[in-house]
Amino acid sequence: MRAPLKHRAPLLCCLLALSCAQYPPPNPSPADRFYFPTGLAFFLPPGSTSGILYVASSNYDRRYDQGNLIAVNLDRMQAPALPGVPPLAGLPPPGFTVADTAPAFQFTDLATATGDVVQIQSFAAEMLRDPVGYGGRPRLWVATRAEGDLLEPVSTDPGGEGLVCVPAGNNCVFSGLSVAVEQEPQGGTGQPAAPQPYGLGLSKEDSMVPGELWVTHIRPADSPPTSGLDLENYVVHLNARSPIPFVNVPNAFVPIGLGPGNSISVGRTNVWVSGRASLTQTSLDVLLRIVDRDNLQTYFPQLALQYATSQARGLAVRADESRIYLVGLFPDTLLVVDVKDPYSQYPTVTVVRAVPLPGGPNAVRLVERPGAGDVLAITCQNDGSLAIYDDDIGQLATIITGVGIAPYDVVVDQRGDAARFFVSNFDDGRVTVIDALLGGPGQPLLARIVAYLGQQQGCILATNDSTCVGSQ
């Protein structure tokens, strides 16, 4: 028997009141697509055909609660049939041939499974993979710039899948390491701190401290917090292979002066830091700073006195540290920098070439070719392209246009004379796969787009676009 209305009305009010007091339902980033993808990492496990690609989605407009990190098993993805293109299961291995002119595959089904996704904080920046990690589980590290200023370590199984936040769980926002606790308005002193961590670098096995993670950040730390006073930037270093990583305050922080760092490369004895704009016209140039890993002193080689781009973005360093490739902004330029005495505290750096780049260059990835000159892949956000520089001719060898909207990061799967570049397209929502022949006898350096991974995010963003109805 139903309760009389007069009895049911208070019950309904009660329910309404209860429902009003509840939190909104969880709204995690989707696991079947990328959303404002930024940082990338790649791993080719033994026996795999095309490997595992790790993609950080930055959730740039905060449509979801957080961003996420997806491990895409490239052998498992599905590309539906398109006009002129048959369906395909799994990305074929790198094997670009000049005669191959087939349209690019559209792998819209990432075929992600449980354990392929963890939630991370929004505004993800750079990502890297530490093949050693801890306890037989390699680790991924991703820097995120939203609340908490978190570094988020994620471990994987040896095969590259089975993502777990370090130390546990699948929402790394709860387990991430803040690099800016002193920036807390309540109780923080302001410094040292690294708000908005951005760039990551990992020391090599033959360096003075293997497994050491170094981090840059974008926003200067002020003191006291929120005061806008006494600004300082830092690089942060920590042991990436401890069971439970931690940031030692203040010892982990090395001041590097005014001007945010962008990208970072950890050498045998020095850390190379590219930098964004100086704060004042006459302050020391920050295109490149060098931190001595032993005494933690920062050296300003004043690269802008040789070639004055206004800012720098990505940088790549040769394994022997004899040369640095630095992406300059305004004007958009690839700076080729030779280094003398790279293991001393004060290396001599000389700009030896400046190559104009397509608009908005950001990330750079170096491919060292045995017996031939270096190859560089540079994402160009404004141009929507990937520029490839060949040191054998001292010029750009090819520019892959139509990569996507705002190409951000690039990683490489190099196999002999062939290479596969993965490019995250920030405003597009997809990752572009570009296969390349790295050149050789009678064979110029060539590259073409062979696939797109994921779905375009345009219809998520353009909610009033009638052509998008039913597409999500």
Partner: protein, 860 residues
Amino acid sequence: MKLSRNVLLLALLAVAVGCTQAALPGAGGLNGVNTVAVVRVAGWDGGPTDGGRLVDALYGQTAFISSTNTNDLKGLDLIVTDTSQGRAYVPAPNPLQPLSIPTVDHPVEIATSLRYGRITTQQSYFPLGYMDGQVLTGMLLFVRGAASPNISVVGAADVPESLRQLTNGLLVQSAGVVTAISARLTSDERNVVLYYATFDGQDGTVWERVLQHPPTIDPSFTPPFPTSLTSLLDCSGTPPTLPSTTLYLCPARAVRTYQNASVSALQVLPTLATDPPLPVLGGVEGGRLGVALRVPFPPASDPTSLSASGEVRIINPALRADQDADGTSSDPFFRIARFFAPFDHPEPPLIADAPPQPPIRHLMTHPRAYSVVPDGGTPLGPPVLAYEGARLFGVLDESSCYGSVNCSGVLAVDALPFLVDGGVNSNYGLLAFDNSDCQEVSPQGQVYCANIVGSTNRMLPLRFGSGIIQGLAMESSAFLPSPTSFNFGLIPLLGMATVSAESLDHTQAQIYFFDAVGLRLLNENFGPGVTNGVTLVLPGGTQLIPDGGAYGTIPFITANVGVGLYPRSESISIINEGEIPGLIGIRGIPYDAGISPDGGLQDVFAWPVPDAGSAVAANAVQVNDLLYPINLSGSLCSITVTLPGGSALINPNVVVVGVDDGGTSIFTTPLDLSLCPGASGYLVLAGPYSAQPYLVVGSVSGLLGRMQSAPSDGGPSPVFQVPNSISEGLGVTYPRFFDPNVDAGVVIPPDGGLIAGVASLPLTLQIPLPDPNFLSNIQAYYAFVISNGFLAAALPIDPVGLGSAGLYLPGGASMARIIDVNGEFILAIVAYPSSNTVIDFAPSNIVLNYPNAGAITVHF
């Protein structure tokens, strides 16, 4: 509303950050500014009364600027027709916008169709009203893109139908990315010969394509200009007759292939009477071609100094190709242009066992230079100093020497097989001679050498400070403001280079001028040596003027500066018991504070030296120097001692008895450090009883060495010289960067030694017995300012006066002779990638080595 202090601070911060940003594309729409090239299209002006005449720029004189982000060219009209107007961009059909000519993507190199011939001039030095051998161009322009296999063909005559990329004017190559282009206009202006190079991953190939060119200088020519290209499949015979709206284009012909090398630059050279015709269209006028090759790996014979090698070849495309990259060619016209010794080669084609050379990344040649002088004494004619194309200039590839200065600068090789007197040029294909053996004296008694072609000393690389050479331009008979140093303002062949190096406040000069006939930088300094007298400065600030004798007419300190060897003008100090730079405030004391296991003091203390100071310790510390313990704050240890009649505070020190070979430890006499509680480090002073007790320190150079004075018995003053064991130990070298004027026949050594009276030591000093005030005061010093005798002629920009803050990174440059309503003058045009702008200025209107604003026009 009241803004909080923090908000204001953040706003200021944002403004400051904004100040370091480059400008957005300006009104001209330039975006990704890169290179600039000037086109001047002559034509026959059929006057109604005089029957017509040839007009140099009838169809425009335009500077084309490439924009890599918008894939187009903009044209700056260089000819002003109304004195109330300035130069402006060629307008689009909608005149509010500048015309944008689409090109190949990311245009990075522009090649004009170039020839050398007669132009009109109003200069009094050319009474016949013309100059021969000057730059002329056709109406076709070629544009190469970054990483592109394509070349754009652009119509460049300043008439509405011409300014466009020609239909079918995108030449698509299949042999790989195009790495260099250059184009020659035949003397009858009926053909253009385009040369371009491709790279296929291993080999570089030079290609040739012949195009038709409208004979604008022919009285029969009338517009409209052709607007398209028509490709021909066969150019072995005479071409078909085509409508005047289109130009024929011959198939590509491979001219040379260079194995394991890429072609980094091409430059067409003026046609000689002896050049055979090309095997195209039954014999198109031929000509030589400069080819810069780059081998992208270290040469086996010199892998430590060169990471890549190269050479410049002067080839004749009409003749059989040289196929072998190792130089074993049988091509009779084959040359290798060599920069480094040995130069005494057997004549063509090769130099046996010549060492590897650094590659060249840019080539350029020049118009004819005449011996003009500004004081009215120009000989009739005037005589030719250098024919057009006499030198082939090259910019060294800075990336080929592991960052060393050896791969920087501009070089020139002789590129004509004959001299101006008609004789054989035995130096053809080799590094050119500069005019440092010149002693030309003006009526005013000043040495000037702008009108001299050298024959004795091989040129030095023209270097313009650090950074990258961005642009290079040359023009004949150009004025610089007078007085410049000893050149009297009129330069027969003025060179201009733009460089990337700058200062943080963006005021350092980045535009330099050089004498392109004499192959030396223009020196604006009056002379080397002490410029401001000598002052003795005592602790506390008291200053005395030392007397060198003869009532002050004899310099107290004798200083000789090697012009072109000592790199800077600066203040020099000679210090008594001075603190040795690099060994001040050192942290570290002897192990166990020098206490032996038995509790006593060790006989010898070993003071540790950090890595950063070891080179100084090993080379600059001498026996009998003094070491003072210091505490954490850097203060000297102080001890109160009892003396007869009271007590006194002293700073204890120890005497240096030696330094280990690596400079890692300084050995001294012992000291009871328990007397210095808190002692944590030390500093070292040059001791009064050391062999060379006085430090020599430059305000910019830092520690230059140590010296001694004349002895008290009146003996001669020992000579202090740079370089010395200390500078060598510190790794400082003094490469010659400028050759002084010397008597003809003197071969200037690259470094060291006094040759035929030419100062070839960078710096020597002699000091008599010092003043007692100097000897009795620790850290008293003699101070004086020296001039190094060299100041490169340069154009700094005053960004404040100009109201344009983005001019800190110049790019490509060009110069052109203009005749318009403002008269006849040379105009320089410089692109600025840092601000997406272009500036122009007349070199005659600037002030050298002084911040300029008024003479410069910025085109946004």
